[in-house]
Symmetry: C2
Subunit: 395 residues, 2 copies
């Protein structure tokens, strides 16, 4: 038995590199960027009008002129025109290029226009006001998004702006999720009295979907030769195998033996934690094997704590640790790290964690009433209201 920290280290020392692929930028939300995104030109790319109004030569205003004959119009998306006479003005639209020889924009709200003459109604005007000058935000060649960033809506806008219609992202692992256990029947079936429906594989599919990882699922009966043959094939084909069940001490818990016979290198089996103690982790040269215990909450918490961490490091994503504050005293006697189900809430910028009572690792429905786990360290038995602990969110 090893500690949670040792288990995490072991897992983080055996990450994989799935490589890089190029995909359409609009499909890249939730993926990890694998190239620096550089400004293809200055932003803004020209002296950009930022208010609808008139553009003038500021010197004319400074010299006391207040009435400007409208010489022309500069819409957004049109070639730059020139203010021919410095005592005239040009009507300009937000997003337009500032006309040549103009250097100040006065918004329509501060102007009265009559008979083709714009009369300025304010006394204070600055040069280059309401002009977003070329290159003010970013210079051509500046890195706008650094490699290894998780792509969200903000990044999509930048990718579009610089013309990155195809973008390099981390390839996702190829994952097979396998349930075992002869007591399991399909979701569409009506279980006999001693059977239950498969659920952990679907929970795992959904937890991987949160990471934008597509996955496949299979069910194998508790028959050792069948298990061995199928798993041998999966180890060849997939980067990751996630199992739920058959890793404990039962007579039909064949997985540890099968893994050994298939030369899966065992990194550890069993962690001093609750729930999720009999977790098996191993690897081959090409595949990583996560053998989660079959209880629903055990599978759930181990996927979040171990598979998620392994995946983040594999694709190069740094994730900040978050903590939450206990709202009541909690006692936990066993010398184990305790992953406690909590409901999170906000109070004046403090993240509060209220314990949710469940009936142990089999009580899947209790997960629905919570939205996170907090990690209470091994070696202590009393956890006080007001103390803060690492939090693992899941909804």
């Amino acid at each position: 038995m090893i500690s949670v920290e040792e288990a995490k280290n072991s897992i983080l020392n055996t990450t994989q590199n799935f490589g890089v692929e190029e995909i359409p930028f609009i499909k890249s939300v939730g993926r990890i960027l694998k190239e620096d995104i550089v400004a293809d030109r200055d932003f803004p790319p020209f002296n950009r009008v930022s208010m609808d109004g008139i553009a003038i030569d500021f010197n004319a205003f400074k010299n006391g002129q207040r009435a400007f004959k409208i010489e022309g119009i500069q819409p957004a998306g049109s070639k730059q025109i020139t203010l021919q006479n410095s005592e005239n003005c040009i009507e300009v639209m937000t997003g337009a290029v500032l006309p040549k020889n103009a250097n100040s924009v006065i918004r329509y709200e501060d102007v009265e226009i009559e008979n083709g003459i714009a009369n300025i109604q304010i006394d204070k005007v600055n040069d280059f006001q309401n002009i977003h000058t070329k290159g003010k935000d970013r210079k051509q060649g500046d890195v706008l998004i650094h490699k290894n960033k998780l792509i969200s809506a903000a990044e999509i806008g930048v990718l579009a702006t610089v013309g990155k219609s195809i973008v390099k992202v981390a390839k996702q692992p190829k994952v097979m999720i396998i349930s075992t256990g002869d007591e399991l029947v399909g979701v569409d079936e009506t279980p006999l009295e001693y059977q239950i429906r498969r659920s952990n594989v679907f929970t795992l599919v959904s937890l991987l979907e949160r990471l934008n990882i597509p996955s496949e699922t299979a069910h194998i009966t508790d028959d050792k030769p069948v298990l061995k043959q199928k798993i041998a094939a999966y180890l060849q084909e997939y980067d990751v195998l996630l199992f739920s069940g058959a890793v404990s001490k039962g007579k039909f818990d064949f997985l540890p033996e099968v893994f050994e016979e298939l030369q899966v290198q065992k990194l550890f089996h069993k962690i001093t934690q609750r729930p999720g103690k009999p977790f098996f982790y191993g690897k081959t040269d090409t595949s990583n094997v996560f053998g989660f215990p079959g209880n629903p909450i055990s599978t759930f918490v181990n996927c979040l704590v171990y598979f998620y961490s392994w995946y983040y490091k594999s694709v190069g994503l740094k994730v900040e640790e978050e903590t939450a504050i206990l709202t009541e005293d909690v006692a936990f006697k066993p010398n184990l790290t305790y992953f406690l189900q909590v409901k999170l809430s906000d109070k004046f910028g403090h993240l509060l964690a209220s314990p949710i009572k469940g009936n142990g690792s089999g009580d899947l429905a209790s997960l629905v009433n919570a939205d996170a786990f907090i990690q209470l360290p091994k070696g202590e038995t009393e956890f006080k209201k007001g103390e803060n602990f690492p939090v693992i969110r899941y909804s």
Copy 2:
């Protein structure tokens, strides 16, 4: 001009009901549940063995017996067998039905087995230990998930368990996202000096994807008859139209006029906020029209603040407000609600918001360096380090 609060009220008073649809449960992550999910039987559905080991009649142990002949084996997924002789035992596996006449399970760790006899190595045994009794977690008919819950991985597990292979969820709105502005070219094109690439529509597509709303996009040139004809058709076909640009005072900002001519009821136009002031909102009998200002940050923040709120209420989802604590003093003079870009971080369970300097509403790239906005109220000009404000996360 109306306040942010008035604008929000107006929007929340004009939500739509898109109806309900039935979809496969495994596709329902991120959707809003529209039925109560009820336990189809007790959970566990039988007295369930929760440790691998042997099952005995507790009375025999109480009477001093320590050696039990193994009479049979009860695997998970097999019909319940009967302990024929109360001085014998049955080997039982986690997940199995407790054999008839047995009422205590002793785990393998506490037993030595030799020649078909299990010798108990511990002195303390309780009746019903290591047995998860029928109905302990939930009773048949209990509501496991209430209507209007956002479905995540935990709910998927419960849906599978109760056999809900098809589930009722809120239908998503049919959304069209429209850009206008003759300065815009496609992402794949190389813009001329006075042009820029379309980006806001893609940002909006991604922001809607976060809500699992598929959307379509279109671009219309700044030509009033064309705008009118196309928008008339979209108003018929879509529940929601999202526009970016052409709602301000420019000579080619035709949208407000077009909306009026198409009998879109204007709820408001312009909010006392920065960025995102010239936001137009209106409706017809069948469609809601969000006219976001064309600056990237204006479109972004208005989608998060207004469209998101409108959508959540439309589908019946309650979202808790969250707040964060300013890490430095901020001064903001205009009498406007200020949506300040911030980077969030955690310190001992406190959510800290550090302001990110951008160059105003056109500086899309600055969104990448932040991950949220905080909402600083109108009417104040000094916001102090340590004060907390509502936060709107986006990544």
